[in-house]
């Protein structure tokens, strides 16, 4: 019966996700079609004469392509590096030959498979299914919230059997989600492209060109069945992992943090480990790889297992089975062995006694705190917000790379010039440039003369070679001269056009400060703020003190401001640390100087319409960024007045969804990303206007104010 305990809200949420993903599916098809029409770069598959011809060619050439593979395997056996006895390569050749021999008799059929191709191309569905699975897992961890754990644990069916029934319930729900989502999309695709699903079920799967390297003989119908079973298994594992984490860690923030960390690790593993890395087994067994597209079925790959070639899918199935067995075992052990209450018997162990003392001190601590400090304690100690801050700061510190990069010679010249002549253009700096220009000009003339001398035979070959090599090696000076002349010309134009006395400023550091977008750092900061603020008011709901607090005037008004003040200060603190690290790193690596120069001295900031120094402008820019963050803080805090902590987190993450999709490679979402707004410098430079940026910030400010007022009304209304 556990599967019926999933709340109505969760079911509504799942239905919503299904419709959202269906909308995305159709939307992505339209976008693809539009892009292919406008840019012609990304071909949009359509069943027309050209496609029919290509499909026909593929079907006719399929048998030959398999024969070619077998012949290649045989001929490669004669190459020494592939023919080493008992080596992986030799085993791979033999296995590949055997595998493809089994599909020699397959006769693909040419049919309108466009709907199937679009169906398999839509990879977002995996993401939506994964989100659905996490929601199901969330709904299965509720015994603590309802205060039922002690009662359940003491009953005979409330331990291992309960865990098993929860897992079965998850499996049932995951099956429903997978069937609804994947079959739903297949039907949508068939309707959209007028595909005949039933008519093609008996054709070999190799009839769809995506599966040309699929080395097993089976029909499309049979493949789809296996495909769905595989997806159900995968969905169950996602739910299982999410459930286990939340079940073992009794803290929503930390659980979600750990789940996020696992997702990030899987993504990084997929990105970092190449398909031919010595540890590529990890890549192929990574759940991200299995979720990201259908390459698990379309890509033929054998992995090295002690110099034997083993198909990657064997590893995948084995690892998935192992993960599920281990997770179920851990879940059962935790369910059976973890007691809801700790023993009160006297503890003879001195370490445990010491820990117990500390625990007692921590428990008694809140009684001695002021209201403000108590709120601080609630956020950072009770809700483990301190871990979020420590992780964030740790991440920033880990990202610090103070190693001075090796500069090219022209960069050395540039840095030297700026060290000597930073400031307004003066005679000395212009003399340096004109001297260098003259020297290079003389050198060019000398080249002309000497080459004539050499042509006439008056210069020996070694003299000419030596001189010529020296001439070429002045390339760095030429690059530097071009760069500094451009900057000099720009400053002259600035003076003439805008009457601004620009400075020579080293632009390398500022280029990194203004134009580089630290997407991952910003994302981590936003996540941290969401996690910290999500429980600000919701925690009172959870502990049942909300009504008592709101019953008193101090609890309504004073506490509202104290709570907000604390999270805003926390945001400022995190922002401050991040900013200091960022500026110090750039200063150390690239050098930042010329803070007093007019901001227009930097070419990429020439559009700034008012007079101020570079330092002031940097200050304003960071202030604007802080403002955006404070608005986000207020927004998330206000949501927590209405919703529970988990729901607040998920509601807030909707803000980050486009950013996340953009970061993991789904192009098109970057424009709607909060990171774009967070990265004010790059955004402003991209837009080339300060007013558009101010408008965006204004909108965000308005959202912040509205959410503050709404939250105030909700909290302070008796």
């Amino acid at each position: 019966m556990e599967w019926r305990k999933v709340s109505k809200n969760t079911i509504v949420l799942l239905i919503s996700i299904f419709f959202i993903q269906s909308f995305f599916f159709l939307y992505s098809l339209n976008i693809k079609e539009e892009r292919s029409h406008i840019f012609g770069a990304e071909p949009y598959i359509q069943y027309n004469d050209e496609y029919k011809e290509k499909n026909k060619q593929y079907v006719e050439g399929y048998h030959k392509s398999i024969v070619d593979i077998i012949e290649r395997a045989e001929s490669m056996g004669g190459i020494s590096i592939f023919a080493t006895q008992d080596s992986f390569s030799q085993s791979n050749l033999e296995k590949t030959k055997r595998d493809y021999e089994s599909v020699l008799d397959v006769q693909p059929v040419a049919f309108d498979d466009v709907f199937l191709k679009h169906y398999f191309d839509f990879n977002y569905i995996n993401l939506f299914v994964a989100i659905g699975c996490v929601f199901i897992a969330l709904s299965m961890v509720d015994s603590k919230k309802k205060g039922l754990r002690s009662i359940l644990h003491s009953s005979c069916n409330g331990r291992g059997r309960l865990v098993l029934s929860k897992l079965l319930a998850m499996l049932k729900w995951d099956t429903i989600i997978v069937l609804v989502f994947y079959i739903g999309n297949l039907i949508i695709s068939a309707f959209k492209f007028e595909g005949n699903i039933l008519g093609c079920l008996c054709f070999p799967i190799q009839s769809v060109s995506y599966f040309s390297k699929f080395p097993y003989e089976m029909s499309i119908g049979y493949f789809l069945l296996l495909y769905l079973l595989f997806k159900i298994f995968l969905a169950f594992i996602v739910s299982l992992i999410a459930w286990l984490i939340m079940y073992c860690i009794d803290n929503t923030i930390i659980s979600i943090g750990v789940i996020g960390l696992i997702c990030a690790t899987m993504y990084i593993v997929d990105k970092v480990i190449g398909t031919n890395s010595p540890i590529n087994h990890i890549k192929f067994c990574n759940i991200w790889y299995l979720f990201k597209d259908i390459s698990v079925f379309t890509e033929y790959k054998n992995l090295n297992w002690f110099e034997n070639a083993v198909n990657k899918n064997i590893f995948i199935y084995f690892s998935l089975a192992s993960i599920s067995v281990v997770c179920i075992a851990i879940g059962l052990i935790v369910g059976i062995k973890r007691y809801p209450c700790s023993s009160r018997t006297k503890n003879n162990n001195s370490i445990l006694r010491f820990i117990s003392k500390i625990k007692r001190f921590v428990i008694s601590l809140p009684e001695k705190l002021s209201v403000g400090m108590l709120e601080l304690y609630k956020i950072f100690i009770k809700q483990k917000g301190i871990i979020v801050v420590v992780l964030l700061v740790g991440l920033w510190i880990n990202q610090i790379d103070l190693e001075q990069i090796k500069r090219t010679k022209d960069q050395d010249l540039y840095y030297d010039f700026m060290e000597k002549y930073e400031g307004v253009k003066d005679e000395k700096s212009e003399k340096y440039i004109s001297d260098l220009e003259k020297m290079l000009s003389d050198l060019d003339l000398q080249y002309e003369l000497l080459s004539a001398e050499y042509e006439a035979g008056r210069l020996t070959s070694d003299e000419w070679f030596n001189w010529n090599s020296m001439y070429i090696n002045f390339e760095s000076e030429r690059i530097f001269l071009k760069q500094i002349k451009e900057q000099s010309d720009y400053l002259s134009n600035l003076k003439n056009d805008k009457d601004i006395e620009g400075w020579y400023v080293n632009i390398y550091g500022y280029n990194h400060l203004f134009a580089t977008n630290d997407s991952y750092g910003n994302m981590a900061l936003i996540f941290s703020i969401i996690l910290i603020c999500s429980g600000l008011f919701a925690v009172e709901k959870k502990s049942g003190t909300e009504k008592i607090i709101r019953g008193s005037s101090e609890g309504r008004f004073k506490l509202f401001y104290i709570k907000l003040k604390i999270v805003v200060i926390s945001t400022v603190f995190m922002f401050g640390i991040g900013t200091v690290i960022e500026i110090l790193t750039i200063d150390k690596v690239y050098g930042l100087s010329g803070w007093n120069a007019p901001v227009q001295s930097i070419h990429m900031l020439s559009f700034v319409p008012f007079e101020c120094s570079v330092g002031t402008f940097v200050f304003i820019l960071y202030l604007a960024k802080l403002f955006v963050l404070i608005c986000l803080t207020v927004f998330v805090s206000s949501i927590s007045i209405w919703l529970e902590q988990k729901k607040t987190i998920f509601a807030s993450f909707i803000l980050c969804a486009p950013s996340l999709l953009g970061l993991v490679g789904f192009s098109g979402f970057e424009n709607y990303s909060i990171i774009s707004v967070m990265s004010i410098g790059p955004m402003m430079i991209r837009l080339g206007s300060i007013f558009i940026m101010l408008s965006v910030i204004g909108v965000i400010g308005a959202i912040g104010v509205i959410s503050l007022l709404s939250g105030y009304r909700k909290w302070c209304n008796t």
Binding site: I79, N276, I405, T408, L413, E448, F465
Partner: protein
């Protein structure tokens, strides 16, 4: 600067293309780093180089080349012939190809993709370095394909298609990312495993100008020998030979040339030594004063082996063959001999093995015996033109050739079979 002057220089450079190639070899421009006294850096700035690497240095440096006196280097006592060296001593120049006991590794540019290829010594067959029979070697899914364009993305790697090395059963190639991190990549000899093996150094690749950023990349000089990778970072203000143990993170400084107008280039591993050339340009840049040095990898000693030798060189059987402006000289390292053995009108680009000396001539190579007697010039088919010689080992000599068919020119790797020289008839053949 007037445009016409550049045009003129361009035309001169075009005319001098062949000579410029020779010049590249003569002075090792890839390793050259020059300083103008007007633009030289202060000591404080120079010290920054050590901070830049930020790692341990075992400094064996010398600022004054004049301190070095020519010393005899008797290689016979090192028992090089029986040295179970971890690499094949080859005659390939600038690491354009790599030689293993089973065959040769080299880059092939094919349309928009670059592939690593392998030529089998046993069969003479050439195949992409991909062990998958199901691969058609036409796109980025091929094991032999190495991504080369990173300028539009921040997470890619560009591989240096001019360098390939082989050592101890592994192929090594160089690559760098957008941030200027330079890495050594290791590939198993059958191409089935590839990994980013070790980080070498970081060097800024982007050039910031008012029009935005542009890329600058120069190929480092590199060799791998007895478990260490040796490299010279291009365009360094103080040219330096660094070394790192394979797989380690520690950088050691082997030799640095702290001087005005420095020139450090052409490393050549042989037995217990890394030979290299170091020199100083004269003030008018019309002459260079330099020689061939030998760094003993076992005790860290550096000796000047031959002064006034600034061009191509080769060590064979305890003898140093080196090029001067009038031909190839042989210098016996026990001090008994230093004589011209091949007369040539200018600095020759050459290689040598136990039997022959190969000199790059106009559109072909000229083969002499080890005593300098002319043997033959390999035959060329009518439409084939040799444009760049890589040399090779005692089995094959390689080159890059252009075949003209109608108005189209197509480039090929070509080779000659050294064993055919004794028969008196050698033909350039395309690698199949």
């Amino acid at each position: 600067m007037s445009l016409s002057l550049y045009k003129y220089i361009g035309s001169v450079i075009y005319k001098e293309r062949k000579r410029a190639m020779r010049k590249r070899l003569v002075l090792g421009l890839l390793g050259v780093s020059l300083l103008l006294s007007a633009c030289s850096k202060s000591d404080g700035k120079k010290d920054r180089t050590e901070e830049q690497i930020g790692q341990t240095f075992d400094t064996v440096s010398e600022t004054d080349l004049g301190n070095y006196k020519e010393e005899l280097l008797d290689l016979s006592k090192y028992d090089i012939e029986n040295d179970e060296s971890d690499e094949t001593i080859d005659g390939i120049i600038w690491n354009q190809m790599a030689i293993s006991d089973k065959g040769y590794y080299y880059w092939v540019m094919s349309g928009q993709y670059d592939f690593l290829y392998f030529m089998d010594k046993a069969t003479g067959k050439s195949v992409p370095l991909c062990n998958r029979p199901d691969c058609e070697h036409i796109d980025e899914n091929c094991n032999a394909y190495y991504k080369t364009v990173i300028h539009s993305s921040a997470d890619g790697v560009e591989f240096d298609r001019n360098r390939v090395l082989f050592c101890d059963g592994f192929v090594y190639i160089l690559g760098h990312d957008f941030d200027g991190e330079h890495y050594l990549y290791r590939i198993s000899e059958d191409g089935s495993k590839q990994e980013q093996y070790m980080r070498l150094y970081k060097k800024e690749l982007t050039q910031t100008g008012s029009e935005g950023q542009s890329m600058t990349y120069a190929t480092p000089e590199i060799c791998i020998h007895k478990g260490y990778v040796y490299f010279i970072i291009p365009r360094e203000t103080v040219p330096t030979i660094y070394r790192m143990q394979l797989g380690s993170e520690n950088v050691e400084k082997v030799f640095e040339l702290k001087t005005e107008r420095p020139n450090l280039y052409r490393m050549l591993p042989y037995g217990d030594f890394i030979f290299f050339q170091a020199g100083i340009f004269s003030e008018d840049y019309l002459d260079v004063d330099g020689g061939i040095f030998a760094y003993n990898v076992t005790n860290g000693e550096i000796k000047l082996v031959k002064s006034e030798a600034i061009s191509a060189y080769k060590v064979v059987d305890n003898s140093l063959y080196y090029a001067k402006s009038d031909g190839v000289y042989r210098f016996a390292m026990d001090g008994t001999l230093d004589e011209r053995i091949v007369e040539y009108e200018e600095y020759p680009i050459f290689s040598a093995d136990e039997k022959y000396i190969y000199i790059e001539g106009d559109n072909n190579i000229i083969i002499y015996d080890i005593n300098g007697d002319y043997i033959l010039t390999p035959q060329l088919s009518d439409n084939l033109e040799i444009i760049d010689t890589y040399f090779g080992d005692s089995k094959y000599i390689f080159a890059k050739g252009y075949e003209t068919v109608g108005t189209d020119k197509k480039s090929y790797r070509v080779y000659i079979d050294v064993s055919q020289i004794e028969n008196g008839k050698v033909l350039w053949q395309k690698i199949n």
